[in-house]
């Protein structure tokens, strides 16, 4: 509660920074009402805390501090504040807050962590303001606050409307905020859990400037940068061709980069192609076949890091009636958000203005501060909407280089990455290879389990405490990380985006070897984890069981002989998701028809947003498992644009049937958790339908898959 009190007392000019664009699309619904402009509302509004201000007109201003990249937090966060305030949602206007360490903490988008972090804070922000408004009403009426009720922005006494919130804000803002406030019983929620429309729809669907690339400022120049291949540095640059392109004002070599600068973008795209840059080695220059060799070597290495060890694995494998060994491999992937990387920077002496799409504004400012030696306080960062992120915009490389270039040019500059720049510019999902081994006893019980992960700049390629850890008596999880000049980064559901696939496919192999139903195998293991836990358990057994049972039930698991099904379940980023893929055969041809998903993310705050994240995560997981590859030749990706880097398209997505398990827990994030289980569910269904086990991604490039001719068709 302390936070709110402090925030309340700080009557800061909240209305600076941010994008002053409201979301009224329905002004015409109530033609008689006088609609104030955003500027009018903002200038009149009383600040209640860092999230909330209310104007005497009754218009409610809610600030959303976290970067918006499609997870629709810009709608769901304000819903939570408005819920506890008992606001009239039609009078709410939402603004993106600029970076502000004093008002907000954890202003970042990543790890599906914003919702669990902010749930209570946002509720209290709304509830505290409501408390004060009610108190102000009670004072005016000379009654007890407990005699008053609120609904849709109005205060009632004995069922009669007494005040609108707007009439109370001036008085309320003079009262002292309480240390404790009552929060609603979730069963009384009126806004949370309803399909509120995205507050940015009108601007998005009419082409308003919202994104970083849409930023244009007085006196600004444009720039594009040629970055070096991995493991190389610039030896010499011949920029004569580039300089001769009309519209190019400058070519600048800095920091192993070559920037072309001009008034508009097209000449820069042309000039970049005219650059003649000679590079020389600066480290190992790798190709994909090097990585394949490195994987093989390191899987045999004696020097792995032990991540978890339970029981006596050697004995278990020695006594096993059956040992199953399988290896799984994934390639690097580019994040490829539809909006390529870009940022605006203006270094003016010892002040810096930064504007653009970043998932980590704080980190971007810090790194800029470090590079330029300019104190953090002198750097402002305004967030635009992000045209996707997927983890790529957690890094600050594209911010810092823009700032550096602005300093060199002594001008405001917007750096735009071409698609090719974005795809060759690094920070990839790391390539990883796993070796799984399972020891089964005579009855097919899993008595030993080994996993070794080898990753290229993957850090820890395992998640040693995830299921099935805790359910197997003898278990060994090891990791080896190979250091490469190819840069990697978190990519939507880091590590688990492929680990889950490999592990869930392998568990399917185990089930088949043990002659057990794959769902039963998992439930039996969970029983063992519950009744005879081995070591620490880092997942909630009942919640995992809940999604497994729901997915099995909703998909009619095992009920039809004509439907070949694949099962998969994963716990990541605090949420639980189980999925079933359905394949039917038509004239001997397999057709992927449907994926059923059961999710436990606690309270579903915004059903539309949740469905978007579950379906989007599944489409993402499926597309990259099946189609997408990023391979290297001499330190450079071979795929550089969407003609060769194949992303999933509309005709390639099956029906997706989404269900939630109502566990009553506080909400957890959903930006990532639906992705990891998908590839495994599909691969297991492919096995069920065709007897082919696909152990590497992308499927379409594996020889086991080549003659299957899997079609994808919706019901």
């Amino acid at each position: 509660m302390k936070t709110n009190r402090r925030d309340f007392l700080k009557v800061a000019a909240t209305a600076t920074g941010g994008l002053f664009i409201g979301f009224y699309w329905s002004g015409c619904d109530s033609p008689k009402m006088q609609v104030l402009t955003d500027e009018e509302v903002l200038s009149q509004a009383f600040n209640f805390n860092a999230y909330l201000a209310i104007s005497p007109s009754g218009d409610v201003v809610i600030y959303s501090p976290n970067p918006e990249l499609g997870q629709n937090i810009i709608t769901s966060f304000p819903m939570i504040v408005a819920e506890e305030l008992d606001a009239d949602w039609s009078k709410v206007r939402v603004f993106q807050a600029a970076l502000d360490n004093e008002k907000y903490d954890r202003q970042l988008t990543g790890g599906s962590g914003a919702m669990p972090h902010s749930w209570e804070r946002l509720r209290k922000a709304g509830a505290t303001a409501k408390y004060l408004l009610v108190q102000a009403a009670a004072n005016k009426l000379g009654v007890e606050a407990s005699e008053l009720t609120t609904e849709k922005g109005e205060v009632f006494h004995n069922g009669k409307k007494k005040f609108g919130f707007g009439e109370l804000v001036s008085d309320a803002s003079k009262l002292t905020a309480p240390d404790e406030v009552m929060l609603k019983d979730p069963k009384d929620f009126k806004i949370i859990g309803t399909p509120v429309k995205n507050v940015k729809n009108k601007e998005m669907f009419t082409g308003k400037p919202l994104f970083g690339l849409d930023i244009y400022r007085e006196g600004m120049v444009n720039a594009m940068i040629q970055r070096p291949p991995f493991g190389m540095k610039i030896k010499s640059v011949d920029d004569s061709g580039a300089r001769s392109v009309s519209g190019v004002s400058d070519v600048i070599v800095f920091n192993n980069n070559v920037a072309v600068v001009g008034e508009s973008t097209w000449p820069l795209l042309k000039a970049k192609r005219q650059l003649r840059i000679e590079y020389e080695p600066d480290g190992p220059i790798e190709s994909s076949f090097d990585h394949d060799r490195i994987f093989k070597e390191l899987l045999e290495s004696k020097n792995a890091q032990v991540m978890r060890k339970d029981g006596d694995v050697d004995a278990a494998f020695k006594n096993a009636a059956q040992v199953i060994t399988s290896e799984y491999q994934c390639p690097f992937l580019s994040h490829s958000p539809m909006e390529p990387q870009n940022f605006f920077a203006h270094v003016k002496g010892d002040k810096v203005e930064l504007i653009g799409p970043t998932q980590t504004p704080d980190r971007a400012r810090m790194e800029t501060s470090q590079l330029l030696g300019i104190p953090k306080e002198n750097i402002t960062l305004e967030l635009t909407r992000l045209g996707g992120g997927f983890g790529r915009r957690l890094r600050a490389d594209f911010v810092v280089e823009a700032a550096e270039l602005s300093k060199i040019l002594d001008k405001p500059v917007k750096v735009t990455w071409s698609r090719e720049d974005d795809m060759t510019g690094g920070a990839y999902r790391p390539a990883v290879r796993y070796r799984f081994q399972a020891a089964l006893d005579e009855q097919g019980n899993l008595i030993g389990y080994k996993l070794r992960g080898v990753g290229i700049n993957a850090g820890n390629a395992t998640r040693e405490n995830n299921f099935p850890s805790g359910s197997v008596k003898n278990l060994l999880i090891e990791n080896i990380d190979y250091k490469s000049p190819i840069t990697t980064n978190a990519w939507r559901a880091p590590i688990t985006n492929f680990l889950a696939y490999a592990e869930q496919s392998f568990l399917d192999e185990v089930a088949i070897a043990a002659k057990k139903d794959p769902v039963k195998l998992r439930l039996d293991l969970l029983d063992r984890a519950k009744n005879n836990p081995v070591g620490e358990i880092h997942y909630d057994i009942d919640r995992m069981r809940g999604v497994i049972e729901t997915a099995a039930e909703k998909s009619n698991w095992g009920k039809s002989k004509d439907v070949m099904q694949g099962f998969s379940v994963y716990f990541s980023h605090r949420s639980y998701v189980a999925q079933v893929a359905d394949i039917i055969m038509e004239n001997g041809q397999p057709i992927l028809k449907k994926i059923t998903a059961a999710t436990d993310c606690g309270v579903v705050v915004h059903p539309t947003g949740a469905n978007h994240q579950v379906r989007g995560g599944i489409v993402d997981g499926m597309g990259h498992a099946m189609f997408t590859n990023l391979t290297f030749e001499n330190g450079l990706p071979r795929q550089r644009n969407f003609d060769t880097y194949r992303l999933i398209r509309m005709k390639e997505v099956p029906e997706i049937d989404v269900h939630y398990v109502d566990s009553g827990y506080d909400p957890t994030g959903l930006g990532e958790p639906a992705l990891p289980p998908t590839g495994g569910a599909i691969a297991n269904a492919i096995f069920a339908a065709t007897g082919r086990r696909i152990r590497s991604q992308p499927f379409i490039e594996q020889k086991e898959f080549s003659d299957i001719k899997l079609q994808i068709r919706r019901a």
Partner: protein
């Protein structure tokens, strides 16, 4: 450099640019019409779609010299107040995630429905397959196109 007189969203615009400048960059950099998006630049994703005489066209590979006297419509000019049936359906179905691809999706859908007002779901999928959505909003796009066809 050459002077071009372009008909965009019912108005004429003069620009002085190189012949090979793609319409996309004329719109964005020279005319401030930034609703049309850049993503791949090689006619693969549809983020840059506009209407040329009513035909959904990739503006990233169309040189300004090839536009001539054609009528260009961008997302900004699709309707006066964002109330084109496709835009309304996009709101109703709440299609967007990040939203970056959606202007292109809407432009493609609007041109498609004009030609084929009562499409089957398969026809919708075939038409919309030209546009990538990295966020995976394909189910909602399909639903919204079907709704727009119904409410026209």
């Amino acid at each position: 450099m050459a002077n071009y007189n372009l008909k965009i969203n019912g108005q004429s615009h003069q620009v002085d640019v190189e012949d090979d400048t793609p319409l996309l960059w004329v719109l964005r950099d020279h005319l401030g019409l930034v609703g049309t998006k850049f993503s791949c630049g090689i006619a693969q994703c549809g983020a840059c779609m506009v209407h040329i005489n009513g035909e959904a066209t990739y503006s990233c590979t169309l040189p300004v010299s090839g536009v001539g006297s054609s009528e260009v419509t961008t997302i900004e000019g699709l309707s006066k107040d964002g109330d084109h049936p496709v835009q309304k359906a996009w709101n109703e179905i709440d299609v967007a995630q990040c939203g970056y691809c959606q202007a292109g999706q809407i432009m493609n859908a609007a041109a498609f429905l004009k030609k084929n007002p009562k499409p089957t779901l398969e026809e919708i999928e075939n038409a919309m397959n030209r546009n990538l959505c990295r966020c995976g909003t394909y189910h909602k796009i399909r639903e919204a196109v079907a709704l727009a066809a119904k409410t026209k």
